[in-house]
Every structure is written in C-alpha cells, then in structure tokens.
C-alpha cells in the first residue's frame, strides 16, 4: 500500500481565546503548518476540516468560514464530524484522499470555538452526544457518563480516586511545559483531591477544559513527501471503531469496545504491537478515560491502569510516556481541533522538536487515541519515522 506522510504541522495556542474568531484560530494553525512545510497553499489540492458542533459555532457548514478565510476556494473541501473525535476523522479522510489517488497534498484542519457558549450550554450539547432519548433525560452529562465508567472500574478493579487524580497531576506537570497549553500550571495531588465534585466520583480536576483552539497538518503521498522534506513522519496505521449509543448497552462498562476495535486495526495495519509504542497521546477527557485507554490499547493488563499511572510508568522515563503535551486535561480540548492536535504532537515528538522537559528520547513510533462521545467513535492512529 502506498504510504502517506505528514510534511507540515501547525498549532494555535489553546485557551479562552476571546481575542480570536473561529476562522482566525484556524488561520493561526494553517499559517504555522504552511510555514513548517515550506509549501505555498496554492500547491495544496484538497482540504478536510473538523469542527464538531453546529450548536457551538451556531452555524451550518462552519468549515466554509475556514476555507474562505484562508483563501482556499474553489478547491475541494469538506467537513468531517464525530464529536470529540472529529479531528481524527479529518485525518482519516485526508489519508483516504491521498491513498485513493484523488490528491497528493491535502491540508487537514481542526478548529473549535467553545467559550462563546455558557458552560451549562456546552454541558447540554456535549451531553446530547450520548443517548439523548433514553439516558440524557435523567440529567446525564458527559462527566456523568464517565463517572459511571469510573464507578464501575473502581468496583471491579479497586481503582482509587487518588489514582484518577494522579493522571491530572501528571498531565498538568507536562502541560506547564507546553507553550500552547490552556492551563500551564502544575497541580498537587491534594489540590486535585479537594476540588469540588462535578459528577461523583469525578471532581473538577478529573475533567478536561472547555477551550478554543485549532490545529493543522499537511499530508502528502510518499513521492511528494520525500521530495518536500528529508524527515516526513509516516501515518502507518489507522483504526476506527464504534460503540453503542447508550452506556447501558456496553457489555463491559470498564472498557470502550470502540478503542479495542480501533487499536486492533491500527496495530495490524502498522505491523506493530503496543510494546513497540514509544510515545502516546490518549483521550483524557476525564482522568478515568486515560486509565481505561491504557488497558484498551494494551499498555497494561486489565485493571492495572490505576497502578500504572500511580507508579509513574506513563511519565517520561517510565514504561510508556502518555500525554506529555498536557493532554486534554491541561493542554485543553477544543473538540474539533483535538484529533488534529494529537497528530501534531506525535509528529513533533518523532521529529524531536518537543519543548525541553517534555521530549521523549529516541521516539520512533507514536500513537494517538481519540474518542468521540463516550465511546461511540474511536480512532487510533500510528505514526512512524521509518
């Protein structure tokens, strides 16, 4: 199969970006991506845009705002969507664009402006990503769904609230070193443990941030990638899995079936196993989600996700460094941007360009894991240097 390479990466600062519109945020990411690739936009043949929510942008076809503002028309562009995994859907669609032969240079952009809506409205819209007919009417929210997953994981495996908090402490430690992160400050275990309860047992510091931001990558066919730069990073494995709309219909509440499926596809396609991964970014929308991801991705046996983070095995120097960009927890989670931002981070790690203190040494294989909703869609992508 022909290979697809990443030849450019761009990332806006994440945060409460009252200073910039959706289109301006996207422009920031596209400009840095185009500069990184050193390719004029006129050479780019096609674009895929991820913006998760019509409700947050309060507009149909918000991707048109991006295309217009960067001056892309009349070339092909469309939008990809799967809630919080929208960005990875756009990466996948970009890969398909090239693998199919339709184009050999494709721009993938993810962007979201979330903070214009109030927190209760964001909670409402995100909560409706689950089963809004049968579960949302009980007041279920996104934190509520993951709280139920956490409670089941604690009951089955003895996972503790301290282990959940350890995920937040680790991700804030690395987020503090990332200039693009929303919340650049370290937190203590005590602070995380004493924060107010959002959905029992999840507290404020178990939850990711509501952020604005954008990210972009430029994908190229093998021939074009080799011509453009000496060090393209290859998108070597793609997996996409789906899961039930209702949480009640999950056979096992302590695992996301969609992740297991997606990871299996991606590992097979790349011809590697979990033990070969040098650095990973996983979907830590809530701290429990990172622990479940360790187990579903095969980084540790079932039930050992809590001890894995507690013993520092997912820090740099540990068995498998995870979310050393700060994760959704500290870097922020502008939903449509997240999947693309994950690709940016892994490419940065594989090129050895991450900031001091958060670069994983000799990283040749990277993995991104991006969940839509509470497991309705999951994408796993594997990136390699060779």
């Amino acid at each position: 199969m022909a290979r697809v390479g990443v030849v450019g990466i761009g990332h806006s600062r994440f945060g409460i970006r009252e200073d910039a519109s959706l289109r301006e945020l996207a422009f920031e990411a596209v400009r840095s991506c185009i500069n990184d690739a050193d390719v004029p936009l006129s050479d780019v043949q096609s674009m895929v845009v991820a913006i998760a929510s019509d409700e947050l942008s309060y507009a149909l076809q918000p991707s048109a705002q991006v295309g217009d503002y960067i001056g892309f028309h009349p070339k092909p562009s469309f939008r990809a969507e799967a809630a919080c995994a929208s960005g990875s859907m756009a990466v996948r669609a970009g890969w398909m664009n090239i693998a199919s032969g339709l184009a050999d240079l494709v721009l993938v952009v993810g962007a979201e402006k979330m903070t214009e809506a109030s927190t209760p409205d964001v909670t409402e819209v995100l909560g409706r990503a689950g089963d809004f007919l049968w579960e949302h009417p009980f007041g279920m929210t996104f934190p509520g769904y993951y709280a139920m997953i956490a409670r089941a994981h604690m009951a089955k495996y003895g996972t503790t609230e301290e282990q959940l908090a350890a995920v937040a402490v680790k991700n804030h430690k690395y987020g503090a070193l990332n200039p693009n992160a929303h919340m650049r400050k370290e937190i203590t275990l005590e602070k995380a443990m004493s924060s107010f309860v959002v959905a029992d047992p999840l507290k404020l510091f178990d939850c990711c941030l509501v952020s604005d931001g954008a990210a972009a990558i430029l994908l190229a066919s093998e021939a074009v990638a080799k011509k453009l730069r000496p060090d393209p990073v290859w998108l070597s494995g793609l997996g996409l899995g789906t899961g039930s709309l209702a949480l009640a219909h999950r056979e096992d509440l302590t695992s996301l079936e969609a992740t297991v499926e997606a990871a299996g596809q991606a590992y097979r396609m790349a011809g590697i196993g979990p033990e070969d991964v040098d650095v990973a970014v996983v979907h830590d929308c809530f701290t429990i989600a990172e622990i479940v991801a360790y187990e579903d991705l095969g980084f540790c046996p079932r039930g050992e996700g809590g001890p894995l983070v507690e013993h520092g095995e997912t820090c740099i120097g540990g068995r498998i460094p995870v979310n050393v960009d700060g994760g959704l927890k500290s870097k922020g989670h502008p939903v449509g941007a997240t999947g693309v931002a994950m690709a940016v981070e892994i490419v940065k790690q594989l090129r050895g360009q991450a900031e001091e203190g958060r670069q994983v040494p000799q990283a040749d294989v990277g993995l991104s894991h991006n969940v839509g909703g509470n497991g309705q869609h999951t994408a796993v992508h594997i990136f390699t240097r060779a």
């Binding site: 409700e55 109030s118 927190t119 209760p120 409205d121 909670t123 409402e124 909560g127 089963d131 809004f132 007919l133 049968w134 579960e135 949302h136 009417p137 009980f138 007041g139 279920m140 929210t141 934190p143 509520g144 709280a147 139920m148 997953i149 409670r151 089941a152 009951a155 107010f196 309860v197 959002v198 959905a199 029992d200 047992p201 999840l202 209702a246 949480l247 009640a248 219909h249 509440l253």
Partner: protein, 148 residues
C-alpha cells in the same frame, strides 16, 4: 435551543406506548414479534431479524446496581433555576443519584435511585426499577430500595 423532557420525547416515537405505560404504573420492554428478542429501552425495529412488529413485555423483579453517579453540575435543561441563579447565591443543588441496574435476564434500566443515602450506595446492591409520576405530571423511572 429548546429541550424537552423524557416523556415528551418518547411520545414522538413509534414506542410512544412506553410513556403511556409509565403513567399507568407499568415499566415495559419491547418484544420482537419476528424473533422474540426483548429490548430495553424499547424499540420498534429489531436489529437482529429486521421485523418492525413488537409487543410489550413487563419488566418485573429486582435488579443489581452495576454503576451510579451523582451529577452535581447539571445540564441546562435540567435545573434552569440553578444555572440562571443570582451571583453570590448560596443555593446548593442536592442531586438525586442516577443508577444503572441489571435485571436477571440481562436487561439494564437507568433511573433515579430512591430511598438510599448517597454514602450507602454501592455497586452490587439490590434495587427494583419502578415507574413514578412526578408532581408536575411527568412520568419517569426510579430504582427503589426495599421499603422505599
């Protein structure tokens, strides 16, 4: 944006009889006429044999709590008075736990947990799902402990 409550939403579906049953005090699953599969939440279309015909099947007995939460930050539609409250208000929102019980036949039912203090909730405890009509006339599902 306008959000509608549980019973109103179900009324605009092919399983609207579910809401009518709840109001009469009956909690019901659907049984596919084609292959006999029982579904909860009820569904008019069977994903196994593709039949569009179903009958109602009462859900009785006691289930086991498999997970639960207390949502302290509710969505907007749920507690509008909380999310629109005055600044510096001292009003405290005291949520009822939401739980998921698994019945003996494997069906799972979500509902409000009734009659158990939050600190006494635990995975594995016995709870019985029952319909309940609220003071404002809306029907919902509660998970009742013994003696509640």
């Amino acid at each position: 944006m306008q959000f509608r409550d549980f019973s109103l939403l179900v009324r605009d579906t092919k399983v609207r009889g579910f809401a009518e049953g709840l109001e009469r005090g009956e909690l019901r699953a659907s049984r596919c006429v084609g292959c006999g599969a029982v579904h909860f939440p009820p569904r008019s279309d069977c994903p196994t044999c593709w039949s569009g015909e179903f009958t109602w099947e009462p859900i009785t007995g006691t289930g086991r709590l498999i997970t639960y939460t207390l949502i302290k930050v509710p969505p907007r539609h749920f507690a509008p008075d909380l999310t629109q409250r005055a600044p510096f208000s001292t009003y405290v929102y005291a949520p009822t736990a939401v739980g998921l019980v698994e019945m003996e036949d494997g069906l799972r039912v979500m509902g409000w947990v009734c009659g158990v203090a939050a600190q006494n909730l635990h995975v594995g405890m016995a709870l019985t799902p029952k319909p309940e009509v609220l003071d404002d006339g809306r029907a919902t599902i509660v998970l009742k402990s013994e003696g509640c």
